[in-house]
Amino acid sequence: MALSTHTTSTGFLLPSIHSAPPFFTQQPNPATEAIVIEQWTKLILSYARHRNLFYLRVEDAETGGDWDEVLRNDRINRRLPPTHLSSILAGMVAKNVATYEPAKQTRSVLLYWRLPEEWAEVLHQWASTTGQMNTIMTFYEITDPPVNSPLTNIPLPLLRKAITILAKSNRAQIIAIADGEGVRFFTPAK
């Protein structure tokens, strides 16, 4: 009765702990639950990176959707209850690997499987290698480029955070344009 890893249909390798029935139950012993939350956090961020998912909602535990491969294990007939998921999300926000988005609610989080600081670097790098420095770009052109990039489908709140970080190091500037928001990237003077 060995607990094993499992590769999902989308090619994600689930860790062996995902095959353990108690992994889905919120543990009454605080020390044990801390371990459970840590493991779920790793798993969630890993899966989000694999599928390029940015949002996780408490209701994802109930409805079918992008997160099914992780939030349930039909081979052992277990699912992560919404209450437990809510608690895990709170833990992730406390550790700054996620943030409640929109603000002032606790049912939906924006995941930082890449930190905003890291996104800033990726963004700047992409602007540079695609020869778009010193050009005014719309946000849309960034999230929906003709050629897929790491920034494809990045949620606007996260994009804004990354740009703000670049602005602090003089590598980007938000420009007000006719229909929407724009940004210009540049390399700071040495």
């Binding site: 607990l3 062996s16 029935p21 108690p22 889905f24 012993n29 044990t32």
Partner: protein, 248 residues
């Protein structure tokens, strides 16, 4: 209550002189003499009272309780003093009484541990101890049990009065080796880590109370297992992670 001689018995010791020396720094000699006399008088009165009512203290629990309360309020610790059993032993010959009761409590707890996992209801403990003592033992109250358990404290055997949802219970858990836990761990090894109450009842003939207590202790108090509340068979299963086989 302080055991280290805060009671009247303390004034019998050599430290008395030193204490009075300190005292006399702030109080005049005449006041000291007056105080000394008063204490001597009081002690005589208390001694007289105790001997006169010795039989009643021994046989009547409510009177015994009242006497104990009075001692507490004056600051006399009936258990302190040079002789084992203190005050009780010196004047009433009751020192042995307290310890005898203690031994009987331990006796009952140990013999029922199989059945209840080390947790016995106060009412049942009283009933069984009374049976042990027989008619000549006089009636025993909850208060007597509580006091007696206090004397067991220094033994470090973990005897404790606990309140579980309104019911008073006495817990007697051996600190080091918990045999019940060993049994559970053994079962867990046999079943890939999963243990449920029914297993212990059917395969080891435990009572449900004992099974539940042992498993919950492992879960909550000792953090030795994980809970699965979606278990298809029993609804609640306990998984001992060290007994689970993991693929690398």
């Amino acid at each position: 209550m302080h055991r280290r001689g805060v009671g009247l018995a303390a004034f019998d010791r050599k430290q008395t002189t030193k204490r009075f020396e300190e005292l006399s720094n702030s109080i005049s000699q005449s006041q000291v003499t007056h105080l000394n006399n008063q204490l001597a008088q009081f002690r005589t009165a208390l001694t007289h009272f105790a001997s006169t009512h010795r039989d009643k203290i021994k046989s009547d629990p409510s009177f015994r309780h009242a006497f104990q309360q009075m001692c507490t309020s004056i600051g006399v610790d009936p258990l302190a003093g040079p002789r084992k059993g203190g005050w009780w032993a010196e004047l009433l010959g009751l020192g042995d009484w307290q310890y005898e009761l203690g031994v009987q409590i331990v006796d009952v707890c140990v013999s029922t541990r199989e059945r209840n996992g080390g947790l016995i209801e106060m009412a049942e403990l009283i009933r069984m101890v009374s049976k042990l003592r027989g008619v000549s033992g006089g009636s025993i109250t909850e208060d007597d049990i509580v006091q007696s358990i206090k004397t067991l404290e220094p033994l470090g055997a973990g005897y404790q009065v606990v309140d579980i949802s309104g019911r008073k219970m006495v817990r007697s858990v051996v600190k080091e080796l918990d045999d019940d836990q060993t049994t559970i761990l053994g079962l867990a090894q046999e079943h890939g880590g999963r243990v449920v109450e029914d297993m212990l009842i059917q395969r080891r003939q435990w009572s449900r109370e004992r099974a539940r207590t042992a498993l919950e202790n492992m879960l909550l108090r000792d953090g030795l297992c994980w809970l699965d509340d979606q278990d298809e068979e029993c609804g609640r299963a306990y998984w001992v992670t060290s007994a689970m086989k993991w693929e690398a």
